[in-house]
């Protein structure tokens, strides 16, 4: 575990995998070690660190096994996306097989970014490139892939991910106790409709 300084009040901790980043962040957040604990793809950012020594000590006691698995969410999805054929080409399979392969994947929300409630879901084995030209508007609920990640657009926005389907689940609602449906650590399964 390597740490990198980030200004005066923050530390970036490098870990081995998205799974470890999620696990460390979930373990550290309730311990009050920092104001913000933000997982990334292979890092955890501790921002607003009050006591750097206490943080360093706590990090020394953590192991990936110390974190229980997160909650599980099932997302109903209609596989009607415009990019099914492109994804099939990159996965070297028939377009009809993409939904089954996607729905069979055990995803875990690794981190959020891009917009509130937009989760980067890890678990895919294949990788797909972004669109060469991003779309100016991707509808809310679009289920899409880019690189090793799957994501669901919480609101309509511009986007360059390959869209494979649509869900009517509410990904983001600031009035909910848990505003983000797919907060980091959440295990996600897509169910074909």
């Amino acid at each position: 575990m390597q740490t990198r300084p980030v200004g005066r009040h923050a530390v970036l901790v490098e870990v081995a995998s998205p799974q470890d980043a999620v696990a460390l962040a979930a373990w550290a957040r309730p311990r009050g070690l920092a104001g913000e604990v933000v997982s990334g793809a292979e890092t955890v950012l501790f921002d607003g660190v009050g006591d750097a020594q206490a943080l360093a000590h706590a990090l020394g006691t953590w192991t990936p096994e110390a974190t229980p698995p997160g909650p599980e969410v099932e997302l109903p999805v209609v596989y009607d996306g415009p990019d099914l054929e492109t994804v099939a080409a990159h996965w070297a399979c028939d377009p009809d097989e993409v939904p089954a392969r996607h729905a069979a994947t055990a995803f875990v929300s690794a981190f959020c970014g891009f917009s509130p409630g937009f989760a980067y879901l890890s678990g895919l084995t294949g990788s797909v490139p972004r669109l060469a030209t991003p779309r100016t508007r991707v509808p809310a609920g679009s289920v899409a892939l880019a690189g090793p990640w799957c994501g669901v657009y919480p609101v309509a926005s511009p986007g360059g991910w390959q869209v494979v389907g649509t869900t009517d689940a509410t990904l983001w609602d600031a009035r909910r106790v848990e505003p983000a449906l797919l907060a980091p650590g959440t295990r996600v399964r897509f169910v074909a409709r």
């Binding site: 997982s39 990334g40 950012l45 509130p116 409630g117 980091p184």
Partner: protein
């Protein structure tokens, strides 16, 4: 008690200290860009630090008061006029029932702050009344015709307040997590380069124009969490200083971090103005 919005300039936003503790869900912190100015305005009218005020870009705001109320105008200095009478900038000013407060256009700086005794009490979202311009969390931007709710004022206004706004100077730089992506010493190079403010700067970031920083690789990093004040360098080598509405994660390297005590200056720098950096003292 309410304030009716009679006129706005290019942008008027409700802002407070920001929305902390939600970065892991992709929610920017938001909050007033010039925190010392917003804090001074709140203190002058007897508000607590967390009261919401108005962040006014390049003046032009006019507000009509339903009842008599104390206000204070700080930040980028501008004319303060109440029903045609010139009033003092940077102190508590009484606006009587039915009177209209008008702000002129600042001669320098960008953002003027208007605090109202009792604070602007729009509905908080995730613990803050700030408008986040990146993720659209919080109240929508203030528009002509809006009726802004104002809370009960707790304390009397303050005639004299210290400290006054800090003085401007080069932005102090601390170590960033990806300084090793720069060919050479990132802080030294930033300090030696002449930058000006790009016109596409906003509440998300202060974009800098100048000699590109030499990067050892332009490959994106796996996305990682980003702090307020981060100096991020995209593949074109032109640094961006992340301000309050910055994205919470990103894939471009953060090569240095601006001391948070200097970020208020980024709120007030106009496009084309010079930006200088200096290495922060340790500690």
């Amino acid at each position: 008690m309410t304030l009716q919005v009679v006129a706005t300039g290019p942008s008027v936003l409700v802002q407070d200290l920001g929305r902390l503790g939600w970065a892991h869900l992709g929610v920017p912190r938001s909050g007033a860009l010039d925190l010392p100015a917003a804090g001074l305005a709140n203190r002058l009218v007897g508000n607590p630090a967390e009261a919401a005020c108005l962040e006014v870009l390049l003046g032009g705001l006019a507000l009509s008061a339903e009842r008599g109320v104390w206000v204070a105008v700080t930040g980028a200095a501008c004319e303060v006029v109440v029903d045609g009478r010139q009033r003092e900038f940077g102190s508590a000013v009484r606006v009587a029932a039915g009177e209209t407060l008008r702000l002129g256009r600042p001669a320098s700086g960008l953002r003027t702050y208007v605090a109202v005794a009792g604070g602007i009490t729009v509905e908080p979202v995730l613990g803050s009344r700030s408008t986040d311009t990146l993720g659209q969390v919080g109240p929508p931007p203030v528009r002509v015709g809006d009726v802004l709710p104002v809370g009960e004022s707790a304390r009397a206004p303050v005639a004299v307040d210290t400290p006054r706004p800090p003085s401007a100077g080069p932005l102090r730089l601390l170590a960033g997590p990806r300084a090793d992506r720069v060919v050479g010493d990132a802080v030294d190079l930033l300090c030696r380069t002449s930058y000006t403010v790009s016109p596409d700067s906003d509440r998300i970031g202060l974009r800098l124009v100048g000699e590109p920083l030499p990067l050892s690789t332009t490959a994106e990093l796996p996305s990682e969490g980003v702090v307020l004040g981060a100096v991020q360098v995209p593949p074109d080598g032109r640094p961006v200083v992340f301000l309050a509405d910055h994205p919470t994660t990103g894939g471009y390297p953060v090569v240095a971090v601006v001391d948070e005590r200097d970020l208020w200056q980024c709120a007030q720098l106009r496009p084309g103005e010079a930006v200088g950096f200096t290495r922060a003292a340790r500690g």
